[in-house]
Structures are given as structure tokens and as C-alpha cells.
């Protein structure tokens, strides 16, 4: 298998033939894998960029600064800014509770945390309408107080919380399970308060995993389509997040505009992948 790097005598012809066959097989497998990846994953990305810039840079720029698209970008960023901190607090809290204590229902809680990943976006959106919509169990009661949760920013935030809440938690739990409680208990015996212990010991240990989870959650928040489209109400220029805006432009036969908006989301995806592989390369334990 290992080809000689220092050759003195000419290789035995059979060995040379064997190496040739191995190289050929290797090449064939790598090429077919690369061809598959390029065809299924690579081409679509290239197509987005090609279509967005089809009519030139000026048209692209004009499409990006179009007020509705700018508003959609703003709304998407705003949603992420609200959702991520809540998800981080929840992720840390649930990981702390599960890895540091034993209590009845702990295993059930673990299962429930993962549940949102097995529920498809449309079904998730539907569930939210059924409960928090104006005719829903909780929604109708809130309606009496003139509070509306669906078809506005709150709805978008709530459903985004649902689809992304496992990300941070599932990065932290295995890590905190392994890192154990010894360091934290040591800090406590040295006189640190609970909060100091958390800040200086726990947070230090989990910071990369936390970042990793948050990056993945962010990509999902900004890109979520199905669930958000059920609860957003799709009001032009108001409750359109960027993925919804892409669909709106596309359905309006403004394909170039749709692809221009899509490049922004594609860029976020690429940045996510780059950050992800950077963190994985430098802190393999984080993932």
C-alpha cells in the first residue's frame, strides 16, 4: 500500500502493477465522490451566484439595497439577536441541570430536549398556530388581553426558538458530562461563589463548544423557512425574513432579485461552514 519514496532498484513488476491498480482504484473512488459532491452540493451554490450576478454588478447591488430586501435582512438579524441569547441561556441552564444533578425525570428531559430535531418545520409551525394563534388554547386567552403572538415578530422568534433550541444544549451536555464536577467543586471549596465558579471555571471549559453550538443555531435561525413561513403572516415589508423574501421575490417573477437575496444567505452558510471547520480543527473536543 505504502508506495516507496526512496527507490533504489527498480520495483518488482508485479508490485508496480499492484501499486498502479491501487492508485487507479483510489483515483476512481475519489473522483466519483468529488463528482457527486460537486453535482449535488457544489453546482447549486455556483448557480445561485451566477444567477444573482447575471445582469451585472449594478443590478445586483440595486437588488440588495431594495427596501423590502433590506428590511428582510434587518428582521432576520433582529430575530437572531433575540433568539440566540435566549438559546444560550437555556442551553447552559439545561446542560447544568442535567449534568450536575440527578433528579426524577432527568432522562425524559434529555429526550424532550432533542425532540425539536425530529419535528419537521411545517409541523412545528402548525403546532404554534394551534396553541399560540388567535383561536388557539393560549392564544385566544391572550387575545382577550389584546396580545397577539402569531403573524408578527413574536411568532417568528418563538418558532425560531423551537427549531434551534437543541443546538447549544447538545454541544454542551456531552462536554460537561465528561469534564465533570471536580473543578467546580474545587473552586467552591476555595471560597468562590456559585456565580464566580460558573464564570471562571465552567464557562472557561465550555466556551468553544458554546460558540460552536451558537454558530450552528445562528445559521438555522437565519435560514429557517418552513416553520417561519407558517407563523409569519407573510406581510410584505413587515414580517418577511430573508428566506421568505427570497420566496416572495421568486414568486413575483423577480428571479434576479431572489438570487441576489439568496447570496446573502449563502454567504452566511459559507461563513458558518468555515467557522465550523476552524473550530473543529483547533478545538476538536468542542464538537
Amino acid at each position: 500500500m505504502t508506495a516507496a519514496t526512496v527507490t533504489h532498484a527498480p520495483l518488482h513488476p508485479q508490485i508496480a502493477a499492484f501499486h498502479r491498480r491501487q492508485r487507479l482504484k483510489r483515483l476512481a473512488l475519489i473522483l466519483s465522490a468529488a463528482a457527486f459532491a460537486l453535482l449535488v452540493m457544489g453546482l447549486p451554490v455556483i448557480a445561485i451566484v451566477a444567477r444573482a450576478f447575471q445582469e451585472g454588478l449594478a443590478v445586483y447591488a440595486a437588488n440588495i439595497v431594495e427596501p423590502d430586501t433590506l428590511h428582510a435582512i434587518g428582521l432576520t438579524v433582529l430575530t437572531a439577536l433575540i433568539v440566540l441569547p435566549i438559546n444560550i441561556v437555556y442551553g447552559i441552564a439545561v446542560a447544568w441541570a442535567i449534568t450536575r444533578f440527578r433528579f426524577p425525570g432527568r432522562r425524559i428531559l434529555l429526550t424532550i430536549i432533542e425532540l425539536p430535531f425530529s419535528i419537521s418545520p411545517i409541523v412545528a409551525g402548525l403546532c404554534y398556530l394551534l396553541i399560540y394563534g388567535a383561536t388557539g388554547l393560549v392564544g385566544s386567552w391572550l387575545d382577550g388581553w389584546n396580545v397577539q403572538l402569531m403573524f408578527n415578530l413574536t411568532g417568528i422568534v418563538l418558532v425560531s426558538l423551537f427549531v434551534t433550541c437543541p443546538f447549544v444544549a447538545r454541544e454542551l451536555i456531552p462536554l460537561m458530562q465528561v469534564s465533570g464536577r471536580d473543578q467546580e467543586e474545587a473552586a467552591l471549596t476555595l471560597g468562590a461563589s456559585g456565580w464566580q465558579t460558573f464564570r471562571h471555571v465552567t464557562l472557561h471549559n465550555i466556551r468553544w463548544a458554546l460558540l460552536y453550538g451558537a454558530i450552528l443555531a445562528n445559521a438555522r435561525v437565519m435560514g429557517e423557512f418552513g416553520a417561519v413561513s407558517v407563523v409569519s403572516g407573510n406581510i410584505r415589508g413587515e414580517t418577511m425574513t430573508l428566506p421568505l423574501q427570497v420566496q416572495l421575490l421568486y414568486d413575483d417573477y423577480n428571479a434576479t432579485g431572489a438570487f441576489a437575496a439568496a447570496t446573502v444567505l449563502t454567504l452566511i452558510a459559507v461563513i458558518t461552514l468555515v467557522l465550523r471547520s476552524l473550530i473543529e480543527a483547533r478545538h476538536p473536543h468542542a464538537s
Binding site: A4, T5, H8, A9, L11, Q14, I15, F18
Partner: protein, 250 residues
């Protein structure tokens, strides 16, 4: 002469791990490759097995050039240091594996495979373990399964890579004798890689003492003891005095 190794050289990168090794083995002979770790003995065994290829030199078996023959075509049974049992197969399935892999033309009938496997298990005194999985076996039992599996293909040569290193001393002593008896009974040549002098001197007809990718001395145990060829051999065998005094000569 069964196996003939001629000027075999092997590099890892620019590091020469085998330097023009020559070795000739007679039919039915038991040879030990003995040396400290890093001496190249395992690499030499893997080249004999066909799991690696030499960068220079020739290997022949019964006059046939096998230098570039793939491992699967050599029909050399090998026992790995880790035993490398197939954990998802029963003991019987492990032993039958080599027979089942044969091309249809030379593959024995199912019933024939079954009876041969049973015979091999009986021979290794593990007939009652046929339906167990490897993870349910002791170290000694695992070794016997690995040996039976290697013998099932009716090998032309038996290759043993430190087969006792994973066992505790008590089991080890017993199995050494059993292995030696079995080899003589089946009547095939065997090459044992080991770093344990006592083991090599007790079991082998001839010993090749290796250091730094070269064979320092290749001779019968008593001759090596009588006349170490190099200062390295003399020093390497210093610990063996006790064994010699105990009079366990061959």
C-alpha cells in the same frame, strides 16, 4: 527449501527499516524472528505475508517468485498480535471465513466446510465454543480461534505475530507447547515474531536475531548460545543464562 528471502529492503520514507535481509527456510521448520522493538521483525513478517511489499529484493516459495503476489493469493495463514477476530461472527464463522471466501470453483460444499471447521476446533480443543462470539472468550481461547482460523485455509506457511504477548505468563507457557505440537502435527513451516528470548529459544528450530533492519545471526538456538556472532547478539542474550542453566535444551 520452502521460503527464500533474498536481499529484501524496505523503507519508511527515507528511513531504512529492512536492509538487504536474507533468510532461507526449510520445509516444516519453525523459525523465530527475535529482536527488540524497531528491529524490523514485524515488517519482515508483513512482507512475507504480502500485507506490505518490499522496495527491493526477492521472495520465493517452493521455487515460485512471490515477491509481488497479493496477500490473498499467497495462502499463508497469519495469527495477528491482536488476533483480529471478526467480532460480529461466531467462532465457527470466524474459522469458516477463509473457506467461504474462496471462488466458487474451489469452495468446499457447505457441509464440508462445517465438518472441517468442527475438526479444526476439536484439534484446538475449543469445539464447545463454536457458537460463542469472540467477546465472550478468554485471551487463550481467542488465540486458539485465531490459530484455527489461520489453519482453515490449509496454509502453505504459518505466520505468527507475537501471538502470546496479550496473554498472562501462566497461560502463555501452556499454549507455547500446544502451538509447537500442533505445528509439528500439521507439518507446515512456521515463522514466529517475538521479542521474548525465552519463547524463541524454547519453541524454534532456528532463530534469526534481528537489529536495525538486519539479521545479526541465524542459527540453531544452541549454536547461537555457544557462539554469538556479534557483540549485539551476546549482549541481547545476556538475560537467557537462567534458561540455559535450567537445562531446557532442545
Amino acid at each position: 527449501m520452502a521460503l527464500n528471502i533474498q536481499d529484501v529492503t524496505k523503507f519508511y520514507g527515507s528511513n531504512k527499516v529492512l536492509d538487504q535481509v536474507n533468510l532461507t527456510m526449510q520445509k516444516g521448520e519453525f523459525i523465530a524472528l527475535l529482536g527488540p522493538s524497531g528491529s524490523g521483525k514485524t515488517t519482515l513478517l508483513r512482507i512475507i505475508a504480502g500485507l506490505q511489499f518490499a522496495d527491493g529484493g526477492l521472495l520465493s516459495f517452493d521455487g515460485e517468485d512471490i515477491t509481488g503476489t497479493e496477500a490473498r493469493l499467497r495462502r499463508f495463514g497469519m495469527v495477528f498480535q491482536s488476533y483480529a477476530l471478526f467480532e460480529h461472527m461466531t467462532v465457527a464463522e470466524n474459522v469458516a471465513f477463509g473457506l467461504k471466501m474462496r471462488p466458487r470453483a474451489t469452495r468446499p460444499a457447505r457441509a464440508e466446510i462445517g465438518s472441517r471447521v468442527q475438526a479444526l476446533l476439536e484439534m484446538g480443543e475449543i469445539g464447545q465454543l463454536a457458537d460463542r462470539y469472540p467477546s465472550q472468550l478468554s485471551g487463550g481461547q481467542r488465540q486458539r480461534v485465531a490459530l484455527a482460523r489461520a489453519l482453515a485455509i490449509e496454509p502453505r506457511l504459518l505466520l505468527l505475530d507475537e501471538p502470546f504477548s496479550a496473554l498472562d505468563t501462566k497461560v502463555r507457557k501452556g499454549l507455547r507447547g500446544a502451538l509447537r505440537d500442533l505445528q509439528k502435527r500439521v507439518g507446515i513451516g512456521a515463522i514466529l515474531v517475538t521479542h521474548d528470548q525465552e519463547e524463541a529459544f524454547e519453541i524454534a528450530d532456528r532463530i534469526a536475531i534481528m537489529a536495525d533492519g538486519r539479521i545479526e545471526q541465524f542459527d540453531k538456538p544452541e549454536n547461537i548460545l555457544k557462539a554469538p556472532a556479534t557483540p549485539f547478539v551476546a549482549e541481547f542474550l545476556e538475560g537467557l543464562g537462567a534458561w540455559q542453566n535450567a537445562g531446557a535444551g532442545i
